[in-house]
Symmetry: C2
């Protein structure tokens, strides 16, 4: 048993299974309790409406943080936020070497610079087809195609066990930038024998294929060329192929290209530094674009998800310092609606409609394609790789379930559904969950990284519905009431002449204080709290949070 | 000029144009300043994530409230919440007669009963083809088809001017319940000459036709009959035709029908009382359905929008007192995703996926159809009615714009885009905006109806992001510090040993108080507030709301 354990290769997802974003995967090798690890990707997800005041959410990495001396390195597959967004936040807890291809590294460097970590982090820039040895792991980067430059799969080999970690991918027959999918290398891996594929599940519910960037480019070009007014195209800044196509459309249509939005400029910079967008036309400054005739401008901007502070949002609400839209202009959404953003996107489109701007949204895959594999592409991958087992990742539960079922259909002997925190033995066979570790989420609350579901967030969520009442009770050294009680209602409707919630609350507090004025603080706190909640429940229909403060005089 | 004004027929939407829900329309007749009015519909919309603690939003009706003696009646077109939901909340401000067909009236009565208003409101139950005279207005109810029982258009005539207010409609060739669209009456109106159509814009962006309830019924029957485990169908409770089809599927498949969810029972009750669902099979109680073999049960339930407290939500999260789901069961979403609810719906579907329940969602119009007219149906309506002018309502701005353009294409001489609050002259020609009144939204905050965008809501929204700090400063009659300052942080991360936000805040407050202990309250409030916000901005990255309370001792 000990001997066998000594040779175990395990997989342990800390994020990204059963949820969107926040991808973080560990691979371990060795006997239980003495494994060496590598981490693949360290991403974020973004706070939802139900997480007010939380912008960034990362995986809880405490399992590996506690044994960071056994973490040999962090390998990044590509530069999307859900794969690299937590590096600057969490690297100080890990302090391991980081490996990334040039474009991904340029994006990571930008984040590290903002966090003041640029000189500390050993960031190794590797070739897109790099061959690495990290601890006991032998790793080959394999080029795939996706909606960003330099997407990589990782072939990981350790003492005869072989796995394929796909990262995010699709099969784009004409990706506009970068290499084609390295099918031969995938097939060769399949010939050598793959114990497990750890594979993207995003589009497993969609039949067919995801389509090609080149087709989108041609369609965008047609739409721009037939436009007569100003044209605005909003897309995901990180899609360098899309930017390339948009630039080509500008050239073809005789329009000047203007990039708008901070994210757009950041990506443009990173892409230029690493050898992309070299054929790009000269960029017109945002501050100059407003002076050009509308039919001579193509604006490529951030804001496709309805963010009111992004470039497009500001143009729509008239708060952009340089760019304005007018009737007859066209706004092209070369992007999908990310679930959860529909309300904001539709609100933005309504603002645009009100200024009589024509809105063009994707219809099928005409002006936007997904970067993830649909079922037809998954079938190809499984045919090339022929893995013994398959572990669906990068998806919600309904995706993971459908992916496991598809893998079974495609002849995979051991499809395996896992959850964040599951320790899965990949080799020796059979692939199965053998253990679990604690996982969760960390919330970045302002500058402070807190446990997911922290008391602060729960409190804020609660007071956002019901408000909060402060009661200050002055007491002397003998715990006797020593002055005037003060109450403050926050978030309660008190501004209507008919409604006197503050007065009623104060009355309720005074009634809850014994006429003797003698208080037992714990008891009085309880009595006052109950009295206030009861009064406001009756008058207002809500039970706010009540904070009673005894002020010693 | 005075003579001409005396004959003006005007339209004034107080809600529902440029937004979803909250439909409220006024028609006025007479000279300016001495018009008589009728109101058509008085609906609600529901609070979004950005309105924490606000469940119900109604139009601001203060314009008509101030002259309620000139309001001759409220006429309801059908029983959806966005058309009747505000009646119980706002009728006390209007105190006018209310007119509704039997099914709509049954739903309104339920709401009035809950509000304790049943005996006060003069609710006139009228026939679905009623002919009424209300003030100077002569009104004919015309049967249409929609996703609820008894949808009505109103033909309104006053001194030779004639308008058609469509309400919500589609053209369903086989609506399962109720009459077919009364095409002959619409054509006859067109022959007589219509000055303006005020028309549903919801689906104007969709080509073709919305489809038929009967086809949905047949498809649901097929899906239920081929199922082997427990079947759950979730749909909008108010769709009585859909309930009829689901009951038929239960009978056909030999399953017992169970209705789950309060809304489902309410509609069932109202429908039975008014002569619908008479052929319904016997209903199995929720508490008994759990004892039946899975293959013998069909559960029809609320919760299609992902509401965690609705019947389906409780089944999915294991908190339903009687009904549980297990692997092999099927959940059929016979419903659309209402924009804004995607996050909750997908979260629900993930919960269901985790218990290996099969989820069936609509694919095109197979198991759900919209109740609103697509472009083909709008073309039919305009061909029948041939109105001189068209006013698109019931849609966001992008819908109203597209609808006005379509009306123009279909030969309408005067399509007219309007906003809430616009006073539009419909007759005599030309149809045009001649005035505007103040409009807005009222928020139901607990029991208290507040102005939309009230201070309370703004405060709650702010503290949900940044928290609130309460500072109690004891002072004597001479405004000298008279004891120990207390601070309370609410919604701030204070539970980590490393982070001592409360201590730091207290230090900041003490530093802001002059060493003399002598305070000028206004000045001290300002100084303390600035000091606390500065300290927390530095330590936490956020500037919370600061409330300083001087406690007199």
């Amino acid at each position: 048993m000990t001997d066998k354990n000594d040779k175990e290769l395990v997989f342990l997802p800390l994020g990204g299974t059963g949820e969107i974003g926040m991808n973080c995967n560990l691979y371990g090798f060795g006997g239980r309790g003495k494994r060496q690890w590598i981490m693949v990707d360290l991403g974020v997800t973004f706070g939802k409406h139900s997480d007010p005041g939380i912008d960034v959410i990362t995986p809880d990495i405490s399992f590996i943080e506690k044994q960071k001396k056994n973490l040999c390195g962090l390998l990044l597959t590509h530069g999307h936020e859900d794969h690299i967004g937590a590096v600057a936040h969490l690297w100080p807890r890990l302090k391991c070497p980081v490996y990334a291809t040039p474009f991904t590294a340029a994006l990571v460097r930008g984040k590290l610079a903002e966090a003041g970590l640029l000189d500390e982090v050993p960031l190794h820039i590797i070739e897109p087809d790099a061959h690495l040895e990290v601890g006991p792991f032998v790793i080959d980067y394999i080029c795939l195609t996706h909606s960003i430059a330099e997407p990589s799969a990782l072939a990981i080999e350790v003492e005869g066990a072989r796995i394929l970690h796909t990262g995010d991918w699709k099969i784009d027959p004409d990706p506009v930038i970068g290499k084609l999918t390295e099918v031969d290398r995938l097939k060769a891996l399949g010939d050598a024998g793959i114990d497990a594929i750890i594979c993207d599940s995003t589009n497993v519910l969609s039949p067919g294929r995801s389509g090609s960037e080149a087709d989108v480019g041609r369609m965008l070009q047609d739409v721009v060329c037939e436009s007569t007014g100003r044209v605005v195209i909003t897309t995901f800044a990180s899609n360098v192929a899309r930017l390339t196509s948009i630039a080509a459309a500008a050239v073809k249509s005789g329009r000047h290209l203007c990039l708008a939005g901070r994210g757009m400029h950041k990506i443009y910079q990173a892409a230029r530094e690493t050898g992309y967008l070299t054929q790009f036309p000269e960029i017109v400054d945002e501050s100059d674009a407003g002076y050009l005739p509308p039919e001579k401008v193509l604006i490529c901007c951030t804001g496709s998800q309805g963010e009111s502070n992004a470039a497009l949002g500001r143009m729509a609400n008239g708060r952009h310092p340089h760019l304005t839209l007018e009737p007859g202009d066209r706004v092209i959404f070369s992007s999908k609606m990310i679930p959860g953003n529909e309300t904001e996107i539709l609100a933005l489109q309504n603002q645009l409609a009100q200024i009589d701007v024509e809105i063009i949204s994707p219809n099928g895959s005409d002006i936007h394609v997904s970067g993830h594999p649909c079922r037809g592409e998954l079938a190809d991958m499984y045919e090339w790789a022929r893995p013994r087992s398959a572990i669906p990742v990068h998806g919600e539960h309904r995706h993971l379930i459908a992916h496991a079922a598809l893998a079974k259909e495609l002849g995979v002997a051991e499809p395996c559904r896992v959850h964040n925190g599951d320790v899965v033995r990949l080799a020796p066979a059979p692939t199965e969950v053998i253990d679990a570790v604690q996982t969760g989420r960390l919330h970045l609350d302002g500058y402070i990284m807190t446990e997911g579901g922290s008391a602060a967030l729960k409190e804020r969520r609660k007071i956002s519905y019901n408000g909060v009442v402060f009661v200050a009770v002055p007491i002397d050294a003998a715990n006797r009431l020593a002055g005037q009680v003060e109450v403050e209602l926050v978030g309660a409707p008190t501004d209507d002449g008919m409604v006197k919630l503050t007065d009623w609350t104060l009355d309720a507090v005074e009634r809850a204080i014994p006429s003797s004025g003698r208080l037992t603080p714990e008891r009085a706190e309880q009595d006052i709290s109950v009295a206030v909640r009861r009064e406001l429940s009756r008058r207002w229909g809500k039970k706010p949070l009540v904070i009673v403060s005894f002020v010693s005089v």
